[in-house]
Symmetry: C2
Subunit: 396 residues, 2 copies
């Protein structure tokens, strides 16, 4: 008597989590140090000290506990949103205020609130392959239809010709993940401009709004001086969603926010809808103490250099062995071409060498695999002989 949808969800359930579980099992038989688990995107760097200090300061300073742990506007504490807006204004040269910010239960909460607010059953939601797998589930919650836009396999920016074809009169929104999980690629300013151009043209052609949801939980995890651009500056009907899970290593705390610019069509109605959706979806509001804590350390960051060192070590190591890797510019993920067409067979073969990878089909992109490099750097070193043996099997 479970719903048909959830029974389907159970059977499709995360290949990522399955691989992680297999890795744990394998570790029991061959020893943890002999398993090279690149499956899970789980932050491993410590929470910045500033955050712990902020938590303590708030608890010790605010003696009115009903203010600290109580209800506030469903959109979040006004002063928290104001502080966040000021920070974003300074950093991205935008012009936001508290009315443009809704605090959310992570980025996952933010996306669901947006989808609840805009999707009528049957609406098409376009995503760029390879895409974060949960988008499929989030869109399914609100009975939207996922449409996949192909990548340009040269650089893993979008295939714009394919995008032109896939945006139809039924398209309600496009979800961008920037930097991209699973490739680690950053969408260039040029890419963002082309996406905006295509959507503006289609909006005029179809006579209704097509929204962008720019999902940016990895915004701070970028390398080589590269940066993502702030989408609201390029396209007015843009929602930006953010989570502190990665930048502050707080994935368990479920604290994030969304930005809705003044230029958004029907701004007031949209904010009313989103605020009500935040309540109705069952989030009610973002966790109160965490709201107050994160805005006290907006300039703090976890040890991004740790991920950077892993990134270079892994990329260099695998390229040297003859694997074809997409250069990761952000996140803690890397995409690699499977040496055989059927990447699921490759994943199985890697497993024989105790290497745990996630197949690209999971992300709507067969022929590739994802490696999460949020791991112990020693594991990368220890895994290289196993990758070497694997490479030999393919005569790389």
């Amino acid at each position: 008597m479970l719903s048909k949808q959830i029974l389907e969800d159970i059977s499709n359930s995360s290949a990522i989590r399955a691989m992680f579980t297999e890795g744990k099992k394998l570790a029991q038989s061959v020893g943890e140090e002999n398993v090279y688990d690149y499956s899970l995107g789980n932050p491993v760097t410590p929470v910045p000290d500033e955050f712990t200090q902020a938590l303590c300061d708030i608890i010790n300073t605010e003696k009115d506990t009903t203010k600290l742990h109580g209800y506030m506007d469903n959109a979040g504490y006004p002063e928290v949103r104001e502080t966040l807006a000021a920070y974003l204004n300074e950093r991205f040269l935008v012009n936001l205020s508290s009315r443009n910010i809704i605090m959310t239960v992570g980025a996952a909460g933010a996306i669901n609130v947006i989808l609840k607010t805009i999707i009528d059953p049957g609406d098409e939601m376009a995503v760029f392959a390879p895409y974060f797998t949960e988008y499929r589930n989030y869109i399914g919650n609100w009975r939207g239809k996922l449409v996949t836009i192909d990548p340009n396999y040269e650089n893993f920016q979008p295939d714009f010709d394919d995008m032109e074809k896939k945006i139809t009169p039924k398209t309600k929104a496009v979800i961008i993940n920037n930097p991209v999980n699973p490739t680690g690629v950053i969408y260039s300013e040029e890419t963002i401009k082309r996406i905006a151009d295509i959507l503006s043209k289609k909006e005029r052609e179809y006579g209704h709004e097509i929204y962008i949801i720019s999902d940016e939980p990895y915004r701070e995890l970028v390398y080589d001086g590269k940066e993502t651009v702030f989408l609201t500056k390029y396209y007015k009907n843009t929602f930006v969603t953010y989570s502190f899970s990665k930048s502050l290593s707080l994935p368990g705390e479920r604290i994030g926010y969304m930005v809705v610019p003044d230029e958004m069509a029907d701004f007031d109605t949209m904010i009313a809808g989103l605020t009500i959706a935040n309540r109705i979806c069952g989030f009610i509001n973002a966790p109160s103490l965490m709201q107050k804590a994160v805005v006290k350390c907006l300039h703090a960051k976890t040890d991004v250099e740790f991920y950077n060192r892993n990134r270079i070590k892994l990329y260099d190591g695998l390229c040297k062995l003859g694997f074809e890797c997409i250069k990761s510019e952000g996140t803690f993920y890397m995409f690699m071409k499977s040496p055989e067409d059927d990447e699921k067979a490759f994943v199985e073969r890697a497993k024989k060498h105790h290497i745990m990878l996630v197949n690209g089909t999971t992300f709507g992109c067969p022929g590739y695999v994802r490696l999460a490099y949020c791991v112990d750097p020693d594991m990368i070193d220890r895994s290289m002989p196993a990758f070497e043996a694997l490479a030999k099997e393919y005569n790389l």
Copy 2:
């Protein structure tokens, strides 16, 4: 381009919140001390010191911040769930373990996760009038159909004859709120037994499960030595949902849980579905630090006696003036019969005396109004002359 559903939600949006906003406006013109606002169910008693101490202890003791603020199983930390199970076992003489507990983003999160897991579009969900208004929205999220069961107007227990009629082959579940928001009534053991009997009979007749969702956020706010019974002991296909919002005065922190007993049909599949739904709905997991903190003070309570004194003061005061009140046995709400059939007209008339009430139609029960007595006791005293003037208009 907002969804049709959310546009409807905006226009229906909470009469409760609207009344609160009106009260605030009124306060600006006549002075805060001259407005008697009984509209909002917002905990006002302080968070117990044990909780604040627990928070500090955890932050100071756990030096591995990735364990403190990191991902865990989507169902919550196993040790947190085990502690909670042991507490419930001791208190209610049940036999739960960590596998029976899923930590959630409040009770609102728990209910949405359950509904996502069991509802196919068009399924009927029965609620007992008067009911917590958000049930309508939660059921709407998953495209279920709300069916209302009448109360017995003598004692505001359910009308069992009406219940027999309303449970159809399409009924997927029944939601019980115990103690009841908005009446404050506790469903007696006798009531629970009759509900269980009717559902067991209907399950056999229709050949499929009909679930009970027992929503118990006010479980600790009970008076005169009365208590709620623990539903899983009376009916096997029962989910219990709970929030620490009221017992610990933490409504902003969004921390709660659900209980799924071993006896539940298809237990393993159900747990798999619920755990995945917790992820897919966008909650991912209950806030991590809060999980660890609440189980350190399961025996702590906010100042329940404060609400009790308000309850007695309000009930005695209004009865003396000739109003017909339903005796509140729990929660911080009281239900009162409108002296005229159209309770919305009564609410308007009360407003002229600066008394803010919520009409019963909001809760599916016209002819009555709700008073929330989570207020400053002095406000109750100050409001009595206004109620007296109001009573005179009706010749009570």
